[in-house]
Amino acid sequence: MSQKRLRLLFLLTLLVLSLLGFCLSLKLGPVNTSWAELFRSIFTGQGEFYEIILNLRLPRAVLAYLVGAALALAGAILQGYFRNPLADPFILGASSGASLGAVFSLQLGLAVSLAGLSAQSLIAFLTSLVLVGTVYLISERRRFQTAESLLLTGIAAGALASALTSFLLFRRADAYEQAVFWLLGSFSLAEWRQAWLLLAVVLPGWLVAQYLSRDMNLLSLGDETARSLGSPVKTVRRIFLLLATLLASFSVSVAGIIGFVGLIVPHAVRLIIGPDHRRLFIYSALAGGLFLLLSDLVARTVYSPSELPVGVVTAAFGAPFFIYLLNRR
């Protein structure tokens, strides 16, 4: 099969499965509907399940899809940025920063909200940005900043933030249950406003990444070669880092830490369609959306009426698949 046909087939598969995933997400849940009832209420805008479908299941499915797309896109960007297929969206500490902020604000018991984000989400978002920003500034103080110094500083700062989070949890064990939401990820509090917010981040984020995708191809040859081939390497690197950080921070602040999506999705997509970032970014986003949509579907149905944290599902499916991929070649 030619590369072109393979890609087309892959794209069709992603789209069909996504559509199927959305339909199942609308149908399945503690309140059961038949397919006929589902379609009747969608097309007529009436019926007893219409409210549930429109304001509970649909925003949740859309949010899961967008967070999956954001995480996979951020992962694809950072894997290219560090020239390392094992990088993930949280490698610079976005997740540790967010959970520190979330746990801290839970203990303060704040009750404000802005643009669909609760106090926890807001503070988590800010601490996440502050942590990654600090990591960047520390490593930029070195005259000859390398991707390695940034990576190592990120890992160290992440460990420090995790230690502080653990300390806060240890001091106030009663906050633990709420904190699990952050530490393992969940879409149980999904609302339309969050979905719109994420759409406003993911769509422009993808457009910028797509515009600079050739530069990411050049970066994979090494910074010096990229520059000699005409790419403004410093600027490009800054933009990509900012993009990945925003995508990861927004995702974590609405849904908590959902692992493995940002690591395995771009990696698996690269194995199927090749390393060209001009295609990798969009295919990763679509595949990431699908993966998280299905994971959330599993998370809220297998244990019904109670829910599994979605991070448990992504890791349970993702980890064995990843080990398989790694050992296949």
Binding site: N84, F144, S220, E224, S228, S231
Partner: protein, 281 residues
């Protein structure tokens, strides 16, 4: 006005310069080799000309125009760079790798690749003899094949100047000759101005029109290979005793290694450490 003029170039990775006071010029169809011991600054010079290093002072001019005031994409229209062979991380194919030379040489990033763009890539693949490998992934190739792919990419960039960093390293005799014959052909047929950092003196002598020797980051000698290469010069620069013989077919000097020269530096070190032992009475 020269195609490429390097004036009083100083460069390094931090406050200590690796090379300094380097001036040289390059005309179209000129083939210049920069030689010298390891650490003398050959690769640093090649990179400094393109301002790829954190600290670069001095001037590089293309037809009198200050290169350091240009954007990366404008520099890419003048200079093409062949780095040392590296281990690729992502598995791009040969053709994809060569086509990357055109990313910033096109008028718009939204237009599809024109047939002229495609022709340049195909021509570069043919010239370097890697056309048959075009659908292979870079990490499936041997060192020699990879080196030729990197040269193909530089050719596809379609610039008047080629800069190559040790193009013969990692290559066996056969490939070394192939690469230099290819460069010679580009010099003659395409009027390329070529600057190579080269540690293989016999190759440089046989193919280049001018040699520049670096020692400790400064120009130690320069001239036409046949006139410049003397046993005394090699001793001064590399600290080895050699014998120069004339190649019977080319009439050019060739080096045969004899032994290491007494290194004055070693003697001084011994003195500093006071290693001489007084004979006991």
């Amino acid at each position: 006005m020269k195609l490429l003029t390097v004036e009083n170039l100083e460069a390094g990775y931090d406050s200590r310069p690796v090379i300094s006071g380097i001036s040289l010029g390059l005309e179209p169809a000129e083939f210049l080799a920069v030689c010298g011991p390891n650490g003398s600054g050959k690769s640093t010079l090649i990179k400094a000309i393109q301002r790829l290093l954190p600290v670069v002072r001095g001037q590089v001019l293309v037809y009198g125009q200050d290169l350091f005031r240009l954007k990366a994409r404008e520099i890419a229209a003048w200079l093409a760079y062949v780095p040392q062979v590296f281990e690729p991380v992502f598995e791009f194919t040969v053709e994809e790798t060569v086509a990357m030379a055109r990313y910033y040489r096109r008028s718009s990033r939204f237009l599809a690749r024109s047939s002229r763009e495609q022709d340049l890539v195909i021509e570069a693949l043919h010239l370097t003899g890697v056309y048959e490998l075009k659908n292979k992934r870079l990490n499936e190739l041997s060192g020699g094949e990879r080196q030729r792919v990197l040269i193909a990419r530089a050719l596809a960039q379609d610039t008047p100047v080629l800069l190559l960093d040790e193009p013969s390293s990692h290559l066996d005799l056969n490939y070394q000759l192939q690469i230099y014959q290819l460069l010679k052909k580009l010099q003659r047929e395409k009027n390329k101005a070529i600057l190579v950092a080269e540690h293989n003196l016999n190759l440089a002598v046989a193919y280049c029109s001018e040699l520049v020797f670096l020692k400790n980051g400064r120009v130690a000698a320069r001239g036409r290979p046949g006139e410049l290469l003397r046993e005394e010069l090699i001793r001064q620069i590399f600290g080895v005793e050699v014998e120069l013989r004339l190649n019977r077919s080319t009439g050019l000097p060739e080096i045969s290694l004899l032994h290491q020269a007494q290194r004055p530096a070693m003697e001084e070190k011994a003195k500093l450490l006071d290693l001489t032992v007084e004979p006991e009475e």
